[in-house]
Subunit: 154 residues, 2 copies
DNA sequence: ACCATAATGTTGTGAGACATAACAATCAAG
DNA sequence: CTTGATTGTTATGTCTCACAACATTATGGT
């Protein structure tokens, strides 16, 4: 029942909009892809990746959070979290400490170096966001944050 | 100079907002992740993935597009495009034809089966988007599309 | 016409993200 | 105390993606 006109003879001169172009999911994919492409080289000088920054950020906001909680917060499965945490502990950016309440769990804390490096990363990421959102006014950026929040939340 | 208030003394009773939570890039990542998690099982019955749908969609909107053009349009490198196109041609969803103007290039066209399958996918994806954007009004959805477009565009 | 450079499709390869299963240690509930 | 669930861990496999190299063909300069 498609009301689709026959355009087999139409000259594809300009750039006909594809079906996926009107989808939020598709533009989300493109916007995300473009931002990651810009962010990766930004963090390279600090030897960090976006995931590691997110981990540091959540640990700073929730000192003493256990690994399972960190994984849930970031949408990372605990199995895949282990090598990431090993990477951060190996660089003395965070510490694993025994949880006094639960002997299975390990709590996570930022070290001084972790704090400092996260501050550096935050500054670089601030510039990065400013660059990516240059076309958007402050009101538009807030609106985008709000709308993305509604989509991201469960 | 960042106008960042000192919140070190705030009581972390509820759920303290982490630094990354105010970043567009981070919410973009979360929103994208959630939508993909919902979309993948939607396309499973058709044995399709989001990339394949995007390819079919762009080919339908630009019949005769060459592989290089498709890769540029979707942000996929031509090397990685080859097995994807092989997958679609193997399933008789698209066809590779010689380009009369450039003997290096191969033009791409949808088959009837490709058209039909894309229509099915479009219907399923329509439901999927409706589900993901349930919290947003029509005006908000259009605004989100517009803002994402500004971020995604180069 | 000739030559150097670029573009297109292709293959191969490796790194990284991610899901799953299985296990030991510990907790929680009956 | 015993059964089941939870936490951290290891191992494994899959999927996506980037990069390098190559043959074929176009393009542009001389």
């Amino acid at each position: 029942m498609a009301a689709k006109p026959n355009l087999a003879v139409a000259a594809p001169a300009e750039r006909p909009a594809s079906l996926v172009d009107g989808l939020v999911g598709y533009r989300l994919r493109r916007a995300h892809s473009r931002m990651m492409a810009d962010l990766l080289p930004v963090l390279t000088p600090l030897a960090l990746r976006p995931v590691l920054v997110a981990m540091l950020s959540v640990i700073r906001a929730n000192p003493g959070i256990i690994q399972m909680g960190l994984g849930t917060e970031l949408g990372i499965q605990r199995a895949n979290l282990v090598p990431l945490i090993n990477e951060l502990t190996g660089r003395k950016l965070i510490e694993r400490r025994a949880d006094p309440r639960d002997r299975r769990a390990l709590t996570l804390h930022l070290t001084r170096e972790g704090e400092a490096l996260l501050d550096e990363a935050a500054a670089l990421i601030g510039d990065h966001e400013e660059r990516m959102l240059a076309k958007l006014s402050t009101a538009e950026r807030n609106k985008l944050l709000e709308l993305l929040g509604k989509v991201a939340v469960d």
